[in-house]
């Protein structure tokens, strides 16, 4: 047995790695799946999921304005609560990001990916004892897409033109081909409700592993296990208590004093201090969110690609990740996609800080004088510091940057997407297609770099309807290169999701889909006494 497998085994024994991760990494090390499985079970004998216990989470992001209606879910707290009591049609795989069955057993696209048939699971019961039917699914999707929809998922599912029941199947017809449709249905707003929630959107009755007992918006929620859950590989703890804690220090204090088992959004500035606490484990997962510096490609002086290239080469990405994210992040490569997306184009050369190349392009651009960068700490945590760091790294390339600090209130309406050069943040999207369509399509409202290229738009629409994954990946590579080498985006870093738990919490799954194990944290972990 080599050192690597010994290390993996040890990780399992320590509870630092679960079965999925173990299999993934063992496979990467070239160990056959069967033998890896045996390895895991011997190492993990003491790590079989335990049932029972009361799990307490201290979460940031809830507010007194939170609504129980899944269509209006917005905060991190509602995201997590919704995942506990409800199921979507489809889930995404925690490590590959591929679509995996949930309430839909299987699905089949038409050749042009514009008509999709979803086979709905049978024998699944809602919390009120009624059986979930195809009709409930149809109604749910209708409520999120109809003319009166106020749903947060409307942007994701608006291309659904027609929803039809067909025996045990639901048939969705789209306005255009979309190979990503199953992934879009993993959106956390699209919880399947009895009669689609038309009768009572606030009832919080679903098919999930937990039933919502009490809920005070912005304060606290309690849930108890659904004994009739249709799945046995989740819902290990008996009851869950979610406390709304919007103060970072309060969350850390609650975790280190043992009052809660899990907290989200650990401040990167203090994470290394928290790490020293003997009872605490830091859970850091790669995410899709990215901190960006955006230039308008159609406004002087940024309409000159040499100036844009100069400003890209003048970005010291490694330093940014270390200083602004405390090391809890990954460097970016000036296109908005990273390896957490399905069909990520690997092998694109990493752009690094190069003052000489920056100076070369700067000279070539013919620009003189300073460049004005607008920023505010609401753009992303540490944005003003990041701007100052950038100013320094630009200076070494002979580029002068002026920093203007803008007021936080109104930054998103007065500066972002208005001024030609500013700092900003993007939260990532479920698919590459969604990310590019939201911010890089010529006609997109939020095309905040004013990147307008007809050939890019054409490629985006082509890729959307392409069912052949190899071809599609190739198209995404071409698109990434266009944005990277000609766009107005400087992307120094992707931030990790940094959560922390008590060492009693076992089985945490690092899910690339979204924060807090893609919202499923409470349904996936168990408590070790």
């Amino acid at each position: 047995m080599n050192d690597w497998t010994r290390h993996l085994k040890q990780q399992v024994t320590l509870g630092a790695m679960n079965r999925r991760e173990f299999m993934g990494r063992a496979a990467a090390a070239g160990i056959a799946a069967a033998s890896a499985g045996t390895l895991f079970s011997t190492a993990a004998e003491a790590q079989e999921p335990k049932r029972g216990g009361h799990l307490k989470l201290g979460l940031e992001g809830g507010s007194a304005t939170d609504s129980k209606d899944p269509a209006k879910f917005l905060s991190q707290v509602m995201f997590c609560i919704g995942r506990c009591w409800g199921d979507m049609l489809v889930e995404s795989h925690p490590t590959t990001g591929a679509a995996v069955p949930s309430l839909a057993e299987s699905w089949e696209p038409s050749a042009d990916a514009s008509t999709w048939t979803f086979k709905i699971r049978k024998g699944v019961k809602f919390h009120d004892g009624k059986e979930m039917t195809v009709q409930d699914v149809v109604k749910t999707l209708q409520r999120h897409t109809d003319a009166k929809s106020e749903s947060g998922a409307l942007g994701v599912v608006k291309s659904i033109k027609e929803i039809k029941a067909d025996g045990d199947n639901v048939v969705l017809t789209l306005t255009e081909g979309n190979a990503d449709l199953p992934l879009l249905l993993t959106d956390y707003h699209l919880v399947i409700q009895p009669n689609g929630g038309y009768d009572d959107p606030f009832a919080s009755i679903g098919t999930g592993p937990y039933k919502l007992l009490t809920f005070e918006p912005g304060v606290r929620a309690t849930l108890e296990r659904n004994k009739d859950d249709w799945r046995s590989d989740r819902g290990y703890v008996d009851s869950i208590e979610i406390i709304n804690m919007n103060d970072a220090t309060a969350r850390v204090a609650a975790l280190s004093s043992g009052q809660v088992h899990f907290i989200n959004r650990v401040d990167p500035k203090t994470v290394n201090l928290l790490k020293r606490a003997p009872t605490v484990e830091i859970l850091s997962t790669s995410g899709r969110g990215h901190y960006v510096f955006i230039m308008h490609c159609d406004k002087a002086p940024f309409d000159n690609n040499d100036l844009r290239m100069a400003l890209k080469y003048a970005m010291d990405r490694e330093t940014m990740v270390q200083k602004i994210l405390g090391g809890y992040g990954k460097v970016g490569n000036d296109f908005p996609i990273n390896s957490t997306y399905a069909l990520f184009p690997e092998g694109i050369e990493q752009r690094v800080y190069d003052p000489d190349k920056a100076a070369f392009h700067y000279k070539k651009s013919g620009h003189s004088g300073s460049v004005l960068l607008r920023t505010s700490d609401v753009a992303f945590p540490g944005a003003v510091d990041a701007a100052v760091l950038y100013q320094e790294s630009c200076k070494k390339a002979g580029i002068a940057i002026d920093i203007k600090r803008e007021p936080g209130d109104g930054y998103w309406s007065n500066v972002w997407n208005v001024q030609p050069f500013s700092t900003s943040y993007w939260g990532g999207r479920p698919t590459q297609d969604q990310m590019y369509s939201t911010a890089y399509l010529s006609t997109a409202d939020w095309n905040d770099t004013r990147f307008r290229r007809p050939d890019f738009d054409k490629l985006l629409l082509q890729a959307r309807a392409e069912l052949d994954e190899a071809k599609r990946k190739d198209m995404y590579r071409t698109m990434a290169m266009m944005v990277r080498d000609e766009g107005g985006l400087i992307l120094p870093m992707f931030n990790d999701f940094v959560n922390a738990s008590s060492k009693k919490v076992k089985g945490y799954v690092h899910d690339i889909g979204n924060d807090m194990s893609n919202g499923y944290v409470a349904t996936r972990v168990w408590l070790d006494a």
């Binding site: 007194a64 304005t65 003319a147 106020e150 942007g155 009490t214 912005g218 209130d409």
Partner: protein
């Protein structure tokens, strides 16, 4: 806003009590004379029962003031960038969803129509439902206000007697060691920001020794004693924050009175120390002290959002901040009116107590 209903104005703890007494009798009771036609009967009424007159006058003023506050809040929310539909949907907003929410809530109608509609409901005691959570505003506020008052009550119960007691003790031992210790400690407590005091208490009592309950979240169905134990740390923080202000005012006011000629006369007449303080000094020292207590009480109810956040306590402050963030107008309005009403009520109570305690104020010159 705070100064308008309170003619005495915010009282400087270091200033002598006399100035506020003068301004109280001048501005507070002389104001209604501006109406020339009502001068005769009003003046007679004023002289016969000045307390009742003051209450009536203040109540009338407060109604006008609350009305003005509601217009200001409404205008303020309108002036903020973004309306409810866009801020609530945030990054997942699509033009269609935004339009649907606007139509649903009637945000597409003119400002004045919406204000008049809201006012009509509010006058009938109906504050409507929260736009965001679609819960009844009155019901939600009932819970949150109850929590805020619970916290404020216990903080006041400890801090007021403690502050007045320590103030008297400081006078007793003026310029000697106990006075100096009280002064230094209370100054230190007031100089530290409240969140810092809160974090210190959490670190020592919750994390280090694990004797206190944290977080201080209270919820439906929680027993009375559990609640008491939950609010121990926030109450301690609030006591430390408000103590110094009231203590120093008590000390300054009593010292000021004690150095006046008539107290000296009383001493020379051979009256006992207790009789001098209770019968002669206290009535003149009460007014400024009560004013400071009223301001601090108001702070305990409406101004403790930072303490609420640090201790994860579900009070009014956090509720209002959440509502402002998404421009949830019915909630912001209701919170704003309740806060204004508290300020008005507490200041009125302070003035009444001052007048009851000091007969000179009952008969304006």
């Amino acid at each position: 806003m705070a100064a308008a209903p309170n003619p005495a104005g915010p009282v400087d703890p270091l200033a002598a009590g006399e100035t506020s007494l003068v301004s109280l009798s001048d501005a507070g009771l002389a104001a209604p004379h501006s109406s020339a036609s009502a001068r005769g009967p009003w003046r007679r009424f004023l002289q016969r029962s000045p307390l009742a007159a003051l209450v009536i006058q203040r109540l009338a003023l407060s109604i006008a003031l609350l009305f003005a506050v509601s217009i200001m809040i409404f205008g303020g929310i309108e002036a903020l960038p973004g309306d409810f539909a866009t801020t609530y949907l945030g990054q997942s907003a699509t033009p269609q969803a935004v339009a649907n929410i606007r139509a649903d809530l009637g945000l597409d109608r003119p400002v004045t129509t919406r204000y008049v509609e809201w006012l009509g409901g509010a006058l009938q005691g109906d504050f409507g439902t929260s736009w965001a959570s679609r819960n009844s505003v009155s019901e939600q506020i009932g819970k949150r206000l109850g929590n805020s008052l619970f916290l404020a009550f216990f903080a006041a119960l400890i801090s007021i007697p403690l502050a007045v007691g320590l103030g008297m003790l400081a006078v007793q031992y003026r310029n000697r060691l106990p006075d100096k210790i009280i002064n230094v400690v209370s100054l230190a407590a007031i100089s530290l920001p409240e969140f810092f005091v809160g974090y210190l208490l959490i670190m020592v009592f919750a994390v280090q020794y694990g004797v206190a309950t944290f977080p201080a979240t209270v919820f439906d169905g929680m027993g009375f004693f559990d609640r008491l134990s939950a609010i121990a740390l926030p109450v301690a923080t609030l006591v430390l924050v408000v103590l110094a202000h009231m203590m120093r005012m008590t000390r300054a006011a009593i010292l000021n009175v004690m150095s006046s000629a008539y107290v000296e006369t009383a001493e020379l007449k051979g009256l006992s120390a207790f009789r001098i303080i209770a019968r002669h000094a206290a009535p003149n020292a009460v007014a400024p002290v009560v004013n400071v207590i009223a301001l601090n009480l108001a702070y305990l109810v409406v101004g403790v959002v930072v303490v609420e956040v640090v201790f994860v306590y579900p009070g009014m402050g956090q509720y209002m901040v959440d509502a402002v963030t998404v421009r949830d107008m019915p909630v912001v309005q209701a919170c704003g009116l309740i806060f204004a009403a508290f300020y008005i009520f507490l200041n009125m109570a302070a003035d009444l107590i001052a007048i009851v305690a000091n007969p000179r104020l009952r008969h304006p010159r």
